[in-house]
């Protein structure tokens, strides 16, 4: 039954996707076979055609596409991300001052072309995301793909991008593998990940709670969960003798966590380190409270979930330590963060969470790289990223590491506020520290990254 269920839904959303993109496809329909035809003499630069280049950037519009979860366990976070990409595209097209701070050579549009964003629901499923992006490549000749909010999707799109030779910037992806063993030449990641999260939050926990403590882990059963749990446990175990008394691994989309929580209740743990994400995190935390595990045990969220406090209620996140990518009160510290939060709040009537910020930044950075390179030719854009130039972001100066295409960027440590300390309805977290990224990262080759070819 499960199989039929999935395949039916897939075919329906594919149809929806085709319909949605029909308007755009209309204008470019003539190009639908372009992928297989060598574009002789199409380029003044005299480079062989690669991926969707030059077909995708010959008109006055370039298409970019997102496969983003709008249903399922990560739907809430996916919607937020999508808004971040939409805002970035709008800013690229009208040459917004914020975008120009990050990408000074962008005026209106990118290299004189309007950017058009296409989107489809991935439901956080890798096969669905790849199919959708394939359709966008075939029909719309997209010059950039994005999407995830599940590292399983990110890893799949990484490999797909490398095969199709179309650039990919990740959405939210926390797995070490994304710029580790599954890294690719055509993929780039803006946000923090398991290893940097662990090395950021580890010292805070040890300082706060001391050595030789007992922790239960809750881990979603895929690349993100396994790598984050390993990084966090390695840090706590090797540096402070913390013991993992149980690791409860659950499938993505679990509703009832009673079995897992019962095991934890019988494990003797003092800490509940919850790596679950999206709705899985909301449900497991709410149910941990129902079973009396909270507040008896101390909850830790090593990889922050956008809107967690809003969904569980701030009573459950009060005092909880978390590592994150961005939180809106950073507007007090960084001028660009203020510009971003203001622009986003004005357009969408709520303050952005880190998924929207990551989405905005990853597109803004791409616009910077394309405009600096002066070309959509993928190897040129990749080499621009790999120059490792320092540029401003909403969390201060950052740069890309050329060996694994990971952005070197700070990690933010936050602690949940009690309801009485909240200054407004979205003031859920207090920023405790912003840690420089470089010292938190592993050596570029430590996770087996091999980027592969340019062409």
């Amino acid at each position: 039954m499960a199989h039929r269920d999935v395949s039916l839904r897939k075919s329906l959303s594919r149809r929806q996707l085709l319909k949605d993109s029909a308007a755009v496809a209309g204008g470019m329909g003539a190009l639908s076979l372009g992928q297989f035809i060598p574009w002789v003499g199409a380029s003044a630069e005299d480079k062989p055609a690669i991926g969707t280049w030059p077909a995708g950037s010959q008109g006055d519009t370039v298409n970019v596409a997102a496969a983003v979860p709008r249903t399922g366990t990560y739907a809430v976070q996916g919607e937020d991300e999508l808004k971040g990409w939409q805002l970035a595209v709008e800013h690229i097209n009208n040459g917004d001052p914020l975008l120009q701070k990050i990408a000074p050579k962008v005026t209106k549009g990118l290299l004189g072309k309007k950017v058009n964003l296409l989107a489809a629901d991935s439901a956080a499923k890798p096969n669905q995301a790849v199919q959708e992006i394939q359709t966008f490549i075939n029909q719309n000749k997209i010059v950039l793909m994005t999407g995830s909010t599940s590292s399983a999707v990110a890893v799949a799109l990484n490999k797909f991008a490398q095969r199709e030779k179309v650039l990919y910037v990740t959405g939210i992806s926390g797995s070490n593998d994304t710029t580790g063993k599954d890294c690719v030449r055509y993929g780039f990641r803006q946000n923090f990940y398991g290893e940097t999260a662990a090395n950021a939050i580890g010292p805070v926990l040890v300082k706060q709670f001391g050595k030789n403590r007992k922790a239960a882990f809750m881990t979603p059963d895929y690349t993100y969960g396994h790598t984050v749990t390993k990084s966090v446990n390695d840090y706590l175990n090797q540096n402070a003798g913390w013991q993992m008394v149980t690791n409860q691994v659950s499938p993505l989309g679990t509703q009832d966590f009673s079995q897992y929580l019962t095991n934890i209740a019988n494990s003797g743990a003092e800490f509940l380190i919850n790596v679950n994400w999206g709705r899985d995190a909301v449900l497991s935390i709410q149910q941990a409270k129902q079973f009396g595990l909270l507040p008896k045990m101390t909850l830790v969220v090593p990889y922050q979930i956008p809107f967690l406090a809003k969904e569980t209620g701030p009573e459950l996140t009060a005092g909880v330590y978390a590592a994150t990518d961005f939180w809106w009160t950073l507007e007090d510290k960084y001028p660009l963060a203020k510009m971003f939060v203001d622009a986003f709040t004005k357009k969408y009537n709520y303050r952005p969470d880190w998924g929207a910020n990551n989405a905005y930044m990853s597109f803004a950075i791409w616009a910077r790289m394309v405009s600096q390179a002066g070309s959509f030719y993928p190897p040129d854009v990749i080499k621009q990223y790999e120059k490792g130039e320092t540029f401003p972001s909403t969390v201060g100066d950052v740069h890309f590491r050329k060996e694994d295409h990971q952005l070197v960027r700070p990690v933010v440590i936050v602690r949940g506020k009690a309801p009485k300390d909240m200054k407004n309805s979205e003031d859920y977290w207090e920023v405790l520290d912003v840690l420089p990224g470089e010292p938190l990262m592993q050596k570029p080759d430590a996770f087996g990254c091999n980027l592969g070819d340019y062409t």
């Binding site: 039954m1 499960a2 039929r4 269920d5 039916l8 839904r9 329906l12 709008r70 249903t71 399922g72 366990t73 739907a75 809430v76 919607e79 059963d221 149980t246 409860q248 691994v249 659950s250 499938p251 989309g253 679990t254 509703q255 009832d256 009673s258 079995q259 897992y260 019962t262 095991n263 209740a265 019988n266 494990s267 709705r279 909301v282 449900l283 709410q286 149910q287 129902q290 079973f291 009396g292 809107f307 809003k310 969904e311 209620g313």
Partner: protein, 291 residues
């Protein structure tokens, strides 16, 4: 983590989960048994019950009103669905029935998402049932204990309707041979509508009473639908006692397996289903000849 305390706790967890699955499965199985339609919108109706109840709760602050509103609303949806759409599909192939109910499920889920978004919504347990009860071998959420009682009462009510009333007799006769019931001069169409309504009511009721345990979101019915199907296959399609037995077995399989390795609990459920299909294709309490 196999020790005595954990074993007893998990056994208990399995009972609570199993009771809920039994309730869901009995709704699905009487519809299938009588009408021959496998209702793939059953999970979405579970979700609708949760939302209707939540909406009623936000206006009245009463859990009882929420339960009544959630159940009746979904029953109404079921009756309308049967009258307007499903009845045109009785004579059509199973594939068409699956597609139309699957499609309706998507419509329900996306309509709710359109109006309420994807954020989780919480219906708090009624006062008095909040908190934790010590059971000796473990601490257990009070509402989950109450839920066990609530669901058992609902199952008993369903049993009484099916086995102790005239209408129940007609329904059971319809499961065995609806053509014969028709021939005896009973208006089977009215019965069909009623059966669909009762099946929907069971899903809606399950949805709202489960809402304080698992906060609701548009996709909340997806996972439980799959488990419910497994339950009716194990118990025997069309059999009410089979749905109850299958539900309890499924609940225990999931819970006890997770004691050793939670990753395998769903797999073990499907293993059990496969075993049943091989050894007793019509299910534990099913009857050969029913589809």
């Amino acid at each position: 983590m196999v020790n005595w305390a954990n074993f007893v706790s998990q056994l208990f967890n399995g009972l609570v989960l199993g009771a809920l699955l039994a309730l869901m499965a009995s709704g699905l199985t009487i519809i299938y048994g009588t009408l021959g339609v496998l209702n793939l919108a059953h999970g979405a109706m579970f979700m609708l019950g949760g939302y209707a109840g939540w909406l009623a709760f936000t206006y009245t602050n009463s859990f009882v009103v929420a339960v009544i509103a959630g159940s009746l609303f979904v029953m109404l949806v079921g009756v309308v669905m049967e009258r307007v759409i499903i009845r045109y599909f009785y004579a059509r192939p199973h594939e068409d029935q699956l597609l139309v109910t699957f499609g309706l499920g998507i419509v329900f889920v996306e309509t709710v998402r359109f109006f309420f978004g994807s954020l989780s919504r919480t219906v708090p347990a009624p006062p008095g049932l909040v908190g934790i009860t010590p059971l000796g071998f473990m601490l257990y959420p009070t509402y989950r204990l109450a839920l066990l009682g609530i669901v058992l009462v609902a199952l008993l009510a369903l049993y009484l309707v099916l086995y102790r009333t005239r209408i129940g007799m007609v329904v059971r006769a319809g499961i065995e041979d609806s053509a014969m019931v028709d021939a005896l001069g009973i208006d089977v169409h009215k019965v069909f509508m009623l059966v669909f309504g009762i099946g929907a009511l069971a899903a809606g009721f399950a949805g709202i009473v489960n809402a304080p345990v698992v906060s609701i979101a548009p996709d909340v019915g997806e996972a439980i639908l799959v488990q419910t199907f497994t339950v009716i296959v194990i118990g025997g399609v069309g059999s009410f006692p089979g749905a109850v037995l299958g539900g309890l077995i499924a609940g225990e399989i999931i819970s006890l397996t997770s004691m050793f390795n939670p990753g395998y609990s769903q797999v073990m459920l499907f293993v059990a289903m496969t075993l049943v299909l091989v050894l007793r294709p019509y299910g534990l309490l099913g009857t050969a000849g029913r589809e």
